[in-house]
């Protein structure tokens, strides 16, 4: 107890500018209204870190039976390959996890303009401000790597110790941890280096757009890689395969490092292991070197930068809005939403995550459908493969739509909402029309354009057309339901998703999406038996859409809402708190 009190007192005391700067940045990393209110910071930090650490303790549950079964057999080589495949899985998941974390913090790797504006007035060096931010983030990521991998390494080493084990448990634990740790650190510093180079090499007017594009690509790549990575424990047949390109595949470098550390590496693997270590050191050294060389230039650039937008981009959005919007208020809401979605990092990230997951599922399902052999006798006619084909546009729409819907619920700046409150409380119809256009343009059109060629590839032409029409009608019905259930202008409502249980916002909603997609595609497949049934199904949906659009004529339209409704005490019963 005195030790605990002493530690607390030490933490609460002032410890010089550098320590205080790190403390400030560490607090900033968790400040997001997306996940929490500021008062809950400590709880969220502890929950997140505990959740990461507890992942390792699932390992025995997942692997115990597999290795018990393998250890009973005489095949020690199969046992070894199974361990290698699982080790490759841990390495790849660490790489993907750290890449996702760094991508989420992409814009916070280095001090912002606001950081410099606030901190430059204090007696701090430019290098202090710059390196404190970078080292705080790196320290956090390294902590995540350690928390993620130590329990995994300990648990996995104990599970695989047996008749055919490869090394003593302590060595196994060390080798597993070291390989995954080095892989994580390598990815962290490669991405930090990439952002540093982009920041310092590109002209400022290009930087924001290029950095956002790289971030988008990284996120989509990480999300697309997850389904493939999950399948890695089954890679026992090719885990020893070292093609010519393995020299350029970082996960294989760190798998080779693991083999080297347990003393089972071939000469080729030793070379790869060395390359992994060299690459990690080079990434760290290059990041530090570039940062030392350019941090002053960076501060100057960011401190003096103005976010000046290019005229052509500005006027294109305006021209489109003028062309499709019916009146000034509709075009105002449309332009405000489009510009906010494009320019605000948080909103862009939410849309990216949802679109990335949608694309990952699409790619995975598409490739799976082709590789499954369902098309060996020509276009898919029936069965689970047909359901999977029909599900593609619907799934992609759901994810794009949900991403937009979620982003719209996060206010841009509550204090600036007075403008809408004073001028647009009665803009109910204009809001509906603007939102309908956005959902159509940013959820339905991309879902159809992306999946239509694939549907034509795997289905008969009439079935592909039917599948797309079905998906579009379902999408339009969902959009109409959404429009009639909301009464806020996008990005202005004071409801913050951080107040809501993450289980409700995330997992349950996504499970519902998958459930709904399965039911709808089963219904769709019934209609696909012949063209007459297909036409009937389309007719029914068109009727439902017509009825959904035809609302009760009311003498007075309801005013829009700008305040959040009280949080329900019991969500399922919708009972409001007193």
């Amino acid at each position: 107890m005195p030790l605990r009190r002493g530690a607390r007192e030490w933490l609460e005391a002032t410890h010089g500018p550098l320590f205080e700067l790190h403390r400030h940045y560490a607090g900033q990393l968790f400040e997001s209204e997306l996940i929490t209110s500021p008062d809950d910071l400590r709880r969220v930090v502890i929950t997140c870190l505990a959740a990461i650490a507890s992942l390792g303790f699932i390992v025995p549950k997942l692997y115990y039976q597999k290795y018990e079964f393998l250890s009973l057999g005489p095949n020690a080589d199969l046992y070894r390959r199974a361990i290698y495949a699982d080790q490759l899985f841990f390495i790849v998941m660490t790489i993907l996890g750290i890449a996702a974390l760094v991508t989420f913090q992409w814009d916070s790797l280095f001090p912002s303009r606001q950081d410099y504006l606030i901190l430059r007035a204090l007696p701090l060096k430019l290098s202090h401000i710059y390196f404190a931010k970078l080292t705080t983030l790196c320290a956090l990521v390294v902590l995540v790597i350690v928390l993620l991998n130590i329990p995994c390494a300990v648990s996995f080493a104990s599970v695989i110790s047996g008749a055919h084990d490869l090394a003593p448990s302590w060595l196994e634990t060390f080798a597993e941890f070291a390989a995954a740790f080095c892989a994580g650190v390598f990815v962290l510093f490669v991405l930090a280096l990439l952002q540093t180079v982009l920041m310092n090499v590109l002209p400022l007017r290009w930087y924001a757009r290029a950095s956002a594009s790289v971030q988008s690509l990284l996120l989509v790549a990480v999300l697309c890689a997850i389904p493939w990575a999950v399948d890695l424990p089954n890679a026992v047949h090719w885990v020893d395969w070292r093609p010519a390109w393995s020299g350029y595949a970082p996960p294989l470098w760190y798998l080779a490092l693991y083999e080297k550390l347990i003393g089972r590496a071939s000469h080729g693997d030793s070379v790869l292991a060395l390359r992994g270590i060299e690459a990690m050191i080079a990434a760290i050294a290059a990041t530090i070197l570039v940062s030392v060389l350019f941090h002053r230039r960076y501060a100057k650039r960011i401190f003096e930068s103005e976010v000046k937008l290019r005229g052509s981009r500005l006027h294109l959005a305006e021209r489109v809005a003028d062309l499709i919007a019916r009146d000034p208020r509709e075009s105002a809401i449309l332009l405000f939403a489009l510009r906010s979605l494009e320019r605000l990092k948080q909103h862009r990230m939410i849309r990216l995550v949802y679109a990335g997951v949608g694309c990952a599922l699409l790619i995975e399902s598409g490739i799976g459908l082709i590789l499954s052999g369902a098309m060996s006798r020509g276009p898919i006619q029936r069965g689970a493969a047909l359901d999977a084909g029909f599900a593609l546009p619907l799934l992609l729409f759901f994810f794009l739509f949900t991403g937009l819907r979620y982003a719209f619920r996060i206010p841009v700046d509550l204090r600036a909402n007075w403008l809408f409150r004073l001028t647009a409380q009665d803009a109910t119809l204009e809001r509906e029309r603007a939102l309908r256009l956005i959902y159509f343009g940013f959820a339905i059109v991309p879902a159809v354009v992306t999946t239509l060629p694939f549907l034509f590839l795997v289905l008969l032409p009439w079935k592909a057309i039917y599948g797309v029409c079905f998906a579009v009608l379902i999408a339009l019905i969902i959009i109409e339901r959404e429009l009639s259930n909301t009464d806020t202008i996008p990005l202005t409502c004071s409801y913050l998703p951080g107040k809501r249980n993450i289980l409700h916002t995330g997992i349950i909603y996504w499970l519902t999406v998958f459930g709904l997609t399965s039911i709808l595609t089963a219904f769709e497949a019934i209609g696909a038996a012949n063209p007459v049934r297909a036409a009937l199904a389309i007719g029914v949906l068109a009727l439902i859409l017509f009825r959904t659009q035809k609302r009760e004529p009311s003498s007075e339209l309801p005013e829009l809402r700008f305040d959040d409704t009280p949080e329900p005490a019991v969500a399922t019963l919708g009972l409001a708190r007193e």
Partner: protein
């Protein structure tokens, strides 16, 4: 005429503004004064509809504003106390948003925006996001947004905050010109010199209540003071300013 009758706002039974009454005639600039926390901004927010009054009434041209908020909102322009605006938009885009939300057609709106940006010296920054604007530049955008639709009533809460000397002078002349055009202007401010120069009448508020409501000249006569600042000091300030300053120095040196 804009008339406020016994306007009251209570938060959990604690009054922030109590029984405030005043009226503004066409062509009049009414100064609304008071120390921090006296209820100036609360009154302004009740007038604009951003918060609902607990009691009292507001009339504009004889119509009860509280029963017809939307109709009234088309007739006033508002500059809030703090320059809260959507900083990810450019100055031009913000004015476009404000104008379009008020239903202004593009053909009418765009020339006005260009002219306003030019007059306020913001033309060069028209395509720069307002996140990099200074406070004064943001204030100019808000003033432009309040004037775009040629409102009958102007509700200004500390409108000179952050403005440079030239812009403040221009704006002061503009206020006079707008009053000559028959606009009704409520001017809430701490800057007593400006209020004294531009306002015909003033309301002095303290702890949510009206302490004085009269013409500037008459208040000066009544209080035998040479300036509005003296009047204000006599009515509102209860602290020994010199003693507070001395105490601050002592705290600083501790």
């Amino acid at each position: 005429m804009l008339e406020v009758r016994k306007l009251t706002k209570r938060y959990s039974a604690i009054p922030a503004v109590q029984d405030v009454s005043f009226s503004i005639r066409p062509g009049q600039i009414l100064g609304y004064l008071g120390p921090n926390g006296s209820g100036k901004s609360t009154t302004v927010k009740m007038l604009t509809g951003l918060i609902e009054p607990s009691d009292g009434e507001i009339f504009f041209r004889g119509e009860n504003v509280l029963k017809n908020r939307l109709w009234f909102s088309r007739h006033f322009g508002y500059v809030p106390e703090e320059p809260y605006l959507y900083a990810h938009l450019t100055g031009r885009e913000y004015l476009q948003l404000a104008g379009r939300l008020r239903g202004m057609e593009k053909s009418l709106l765009e020339p006005k925006i260009e002219a306003m940006l030019e007059l306020f010296g913001l033309a060069e920054f028209r395509d720069t996001q307002m996140s990099s604007y200074s406070k004064g530049m943001r204030q100019k955008v808000l003033l432009s947004a309040a004037l775009l639709h040629d409102p009958q009533v102007l509700i200004l809460d500390e409108p000179f905050s952050g403005l440079d000397v030239t812009a403040a002078l221009v704006f002061r002349s503009l206020l006079q010109a707008l009053a000559n055009e028959g606009k009704m202007i409520l001017y809430s401010s701490h800057v007593l010199e400006v209020v004294e120069k531009v306002c015909s009448e003033v309301v002095i508020l303290h702890r949510g209540r009206v302490l004085a409501y009269d013409s500037v000249a008459r208040l000066r006569d009544l209080r035998a003071s040479t300036s509005l600042e003296d009047v204000f000091s006599q009515l509102v300030m209860q602290e020994d300013v010199g003693a507070v300053a001395s105490q601050m120095i002592a705290v600083m040196r501790a």
